[in-house]
């Protein structure tokens, strides 16, 4: 019990003092996860929108596949991307392994299905009367799609927030593709794992506090936007 209390107190002091190493780790986490979320959103939102809005053969099967990808373990993605970017992989010459770029690639793959499926759910929930109303007022296909997209905006933002929450807390991809290099690819989760291995809990707990704080903030945002979808 003393260990926990001592670690917690030391961690709080570390957070309060804005320890430079800790700040650098948090910055790497936010940067990598932020870029991954932007890339995944740019691909996942339009893709999810098209899947939800259009009718085509195999649509249900595609949605089932996307749902299956939600459960993809981070280590599987790590292995998969490693096979492509390691020295012997087809992208080996690009020297991506153990860089932030490699982490971004892996994390983007991780959350792409999350953003796509949540976008599909958000669009599918939109009352069909919006589409019909836009059409009867003379809107063309693109204008009608934009109306539906606009009505689903809070659900789509919620999808992006969920994805960010998922990616900032993942450890497998960051460890396998980033390599946990200090000041370069060390993220909150990989640093926590390392500190735990070293038996030094202070920084791990401090990072844990920050991660929990971020998660809390992300959840608050998610519930705010989810609530807005019910207006």
């Amino acid at each position: 019990m003393d260990l926990l209390v001592d670690s917690l107190l030391s961690a709080l002091l570390l957070v309060a003092s804005m320890d430079p190493e800790m700040v650098a780790i948090v910055a790497v986490s936010l940067k990598v996860s932020g870029i991954s979320t932007v890339f995944a959103s740019l691909m996942g939102v339009p893709f999810g929108f098209l899947v939800a809005f259009e009718s085509f053969p195999g649509k249900r099967m595609l949605i089932t596949c996307l749902n299956t990808l939600l459960a993809l373990p981070t280590v599987v993605i790590g292995l998969f991307v490693y096979a492509f970017i390691s020295r012997r992989g087809i992208f080996g010459p690009l020297d991506l392994l153990y860089t932030q770029k490699a982490m971004v690639i892996g994390q983007t793959i991780l959350i792409l299905p999350i953003i796509a499926t949540f976008t599909i759910a958000a669009i599918s929930k939109i009352d069909d009367r919006y589409r019909k109303t836009a059409m009867t007022l003379g809107a063309n296909r693109v204008q009608t799609a934009l109306v539906v997209f606009r009505e689903a905006r809070f659900g789509i933002v919620a999808a992006i927030i969920v994805a960010f929450g998922r990616v900032i807390a993942e450890v497998g991809i960051s460890m396998m593709l980033g390599g946990n290099a200090r000041g370069f690819t060390r993220t909150m989760t990989t640093a926590m794992a390392l500190e735990y291995d070293k038996g030094q809990f202070t920084l791990a707990v401090a990072l844990g506090i920050i991660l929990m704080g971020l998660s809390f903030g992300i959840n608050l945002l998610f519930h705010f936007f989810q609530g807005r979808t019910r207006v």
Binding site: L137, G138, A139, V147
Partner: protein, 241 residues
């Protein structure tokens, strides 16, 4: 003549929901579309509004044959507007809801403002212009939906049970609005209803639908048909059925 329809059928699966050999709708008139639930009233309105194609049949709109392809229908939808039974407003302000159709038609901002004010005045909702549309009551929503449709100055207004979900006060207001726009702007109106009082007070012509067919003068199963015949309220379109 606005619509000239012949041999129209609409089939869902193996169920024929509409089977109309002939229907003509005159310009500037108000048509009441009556019939029991499931008679095909909304389906007919959707077809008249170019929102869904018939299974078979020919439709002429203002003497031009209608082709049910998206590029052909969109210009037609700019002149025929439908207000649903439970209209939905976009989750923005009342002003922006009405502005939507005007923006699509690329009407300049100054002109848009004037039209929006005029439309809201017509339905008595001017002071709601900046109100969030999704916070309005059922009656207010219905009135704003009518204002949104009127703002685009349609040739034909299709209303699916425009007063079914509103209180008595709003019912009177909506009926008066429909009468007024028909009188002033000569907009052709087709509305569905179950309310025989509305039929007698508002419409020039009456169409009865039963199991997808337009009823004849003998009006099988329509006790109202005989009453309307006696009062001379049956329109010329009935003779086409």
């Amino acid at each position: 003549m606005v619509y000239d329809i012949s041999q129209l059928t609409k089939v869902y699966g193996n169920r024929t929901v509409l089977d109309i050999p002939l229907l003509e709708i005159e310009k500037g008139s108000i048509y009441a579309l009556l019939g029991p639930n499931g008679a095909g009233k909304t389906t007919l309105l959707n077809i008249l509004g170019f929102l869904e194609p018939p299974t078979t049949g020919n439709i002429f709109y203002r003497l031009h044959p209608v082709k049910f392809s998206e590029s052909y229908l969109q210009p037609l939808r700019k002149v025929v507007v439908m207000v649903g039974q439970h209209p939905i407003l976009f989750t923005t302000t009342v002003y922006k809801n009405i502005e939507f159709g005007l923006k699509i038609r690329q009407i300049p901002k100054k002109e848009r403002d004037l039209i929006i004010e005029e439309s809201l005045d017509l339905v008595g909702m001017r002071h709601f212009a900046q109100a969030p549309a999704h916070r309005l009551s059922g009656g207010e929503t219905q009135r704003v939906a009518i204002a949104r449709a009127l703002a685009v100055n349609p040739e034909v207004l299709l209303c699916d049970e425009p007063t079914s979900s509103v209180d008595a006060e709003n019912q009177v207001a909506i009926i008066n609005i429909l009468r007024q726009i028909n009188g002033i702007k000569k907009i052709t109106i087709v509305f569905t209803t179950h309310d025989r009082f509305q039929v007698t007070s508002l419409s020039h012509h009456i169409l009865f639908l039963d199991h997808g067919k337009l009823a004849t003068d003998t009006g099988e199963n329509f006790f109202t048909a005989n009453r309307f015949s006696e009062r001379g309220l049956l329109g010329p379109t009935r003779s086409h059925s």
